[in-house]
Structures are given as C-alpha cells and as structure tokens.
Symmetry: C2
Subunit: 210 residues, 2 copies
Amino acid sequence: MQQFSPKFRSELLSLLKWRRDVRHFKPDPVDPDHLQTCLDAFALAPSVGLSEPWRIVRVLSTEARSQALQNFQTANADALQGFSGEKSRIYTGLKLTGMQDAPEQLAIFCDEETSKGSGLGAATMPEMRRYSVVSAIMSFWLTTRAYGIGVGWVSILDPVQLRKDFGVPENWSLVAYLCIGMPEDDTLKPELQTVGWEQRDPNLSRWIEV
Amino acid sequence: MQQFSPKFRSELLSLLKWRRDVRHFKPDPVDPDHLQTCLDAFALAPSVGLSEPWRIVRVLSTEARSQALQNFQTANADALQGFSGEKSRIYTGLKLTGMQDAPEQLAIFCDEETSKGSGLGAATMPEMRRYSVVSAIMSFWLTTRAYGIGVGWVSILDPVQLRKDFGVPENWSLVAYLCIGMPEDDTLKPELQTVGWEQRDPNLSRWIEV
C-alpha cells in the first residue's frame, strides 16, 4: 500500500485550504491538457455500486451560455427578494457567479436511472447516486487547484429549466454548474467571510456521541 | 497564491487512486490525533453560503452500534430480494460493510434547517446543503488515506430509522455512515470489480457539448 509522507500531508492540507470557490476569472484560456487530466479524476471517485452516474456537459455555444446566464439572473433576482436590510445590501454587492467571465463552463448531471451498478447500495438511499457525483466533483475540484485552475460552483439556478434548455435526458438531474478558469484573486479567505455575510465555525468539526 | 509541484500533482493522483471504499479492517485502533486532524478537513470544505451544515455523530455505545448494524442487516436482506441468479449469488458473497470490525464509526448528518448562511445559494437547490456535507466527507476521506487510515461508506440503511434510533434532531438527514479503521487489504481495484459485479468505465470522464 502506498505510504504518504508528512510533507505530502502538509501539502494536501494546503490544497484543501487553497480550494476556493472562484468567481473572478482572468480571460486566459485553460490549458486543454490540464483540464482533461483534471476531468480524469471523475473516474477515480467513489460511486455507489460502481454506478458512476456522472454525466458531464460542456457548455460552449453562445445559446447555451446565454440560457444558463438568464437562468441564473432570474433565480438570483428571486433570491434577492428573500432578504432585507443589511443582508439585502450585502447580497446586492456579491458576485455570485463567474458565468460572464469563465472561459470553461461545465454542467454536471446525475443519471438517476443508470443501470450501471444494478442499483447496489441505492435502494434505501437513491440520493447516493447524486452524492457519488458530488464526490467526483470534489476530486476534480481539488485536482484543478493543484494545476492552479479555479472552479466556482453555481447553485442559484432552476435545475429543471437548465436540463430542458440543454436538451439532456429527463432522468438526468443537475448537480452542479461549474465555472472554470484561471483565478484573478489570491486569497485564503472565503469571499462571504470577507464581506461579512457569514463566518466559518471550526467547532462544527467536533462530534457528538451516541 | 500557493503553487503545487508536478511531484505533488502526481502524489495527489496516487491518493485519489488509493482512496478505496474499505470494508475489511484490522482490529488496531485509529490514532486519535490523526483522526482529529482528518476531521479538521470538514472545516475546509466548500459549503453553500458558508452554511457548514455537517453534523458529526460518533457511534460509540454498544446500543447505538447494535441499532446501526440491525438497520443494515434488515436493509441488506431486503436488497438481496431484488436480485436473482448470478447477481443474487455474487451479492450474497459481498462484504458490504465493515460495521462489525471498524473501531471508529461516524454517522454524518446534514442540518437541513440551519440558519447559518441565511439560505444563500440554496433557494432553488436546497439539496446543496447535503452536497456540501458530501464535499466535506470527501475532504475527510482523502485526508484519512494520506494517514493510511481506511474509510468505508455504508448506504444500505434506512436513514429515517437511524436518525430516530440515535435521537438526533428531525431536521438532520443522514448523508453517510462511515466505518473507519486501518485497512486490511492492499489493492487499487474496487472490490465490486474484482468479484465481477461491475466495471469502471473511464469514458464517463468525457463530456458532451451543448
């Protein structure tokens, strides 16, 4: 079994810290070989029953990008209505998506009805298929950061509308919309913390016992 | 911004490959300092609106362990009924949980109603909270492997029953039941592949375009 050195462990910790949700991108293109190497991390992710239910859609056409951006803008305007006072003021100033700048954009779906894996492990918790897709996204995300590439996960979207707009199968559910590019910023601090929206609470890594 | 070397990238790829779903554990205890270091990775995971909705329950008492094992055995017997012929024969021989051996066991829940993050990013996709928890589990899982610790994710469980048995709040939903210990095996190949249940398909890392 491969052993990992204290130096590697320390660098892995740095990687976890530098994995940021990026919303500010440089216009530079992403190296296609690096991107493919990062995408290969999907295949190494855990998946329930080896079902590998991830489906990757590259959002490239002007039409598809415009549909996605419109989708975000509608959902974001609705979300703003839910806040008032100081929260509303901060929300208005937040940049919650890099969709207008990110050179690469991927919509990641879960095939809810894949026959792969024959349903093993997903009878009582069918959501495990979506969790498998999230595990693959994290494997990809951490790998991108090792290559200096930034990723931002956009969730302010109507997932059903996006699936329809993109014409993908009905049994695919949207898990993530990823904006990908070279990051403009250089900070360890989550943007939501910087602007005073919310703070991290490291006590949440503590357990309770039963 | 921290740069990561080609050597680190190569070791990260190894880590992703060696992150296995472990069901065979040695009786040796897990180093408590290492385990705490790995748990600290939760706090570095991305979470929607910085909601950090992960809730970690250490399953320690004989009663709680017995409830969890009983839960698994019932769900697993039900699942077996869904298979016939060769699949039924293979399923019967599979070891799908390390619950009887793993020295440490954690149930990971998502607080679906946390006020942390004020709901940012979770209006149209409330499942983002659960996805945040999965991201944290992956951060933890990869870190454990860097310390030589094995993790197995059990999903053949009735999640509502487990929540009730453990007496945790109603708004907490079970995301994962993790068995943790020093792995007995030493293989890069998923067990489901070895026994002929399912194969990996690296072509699923390819995209389609819209």
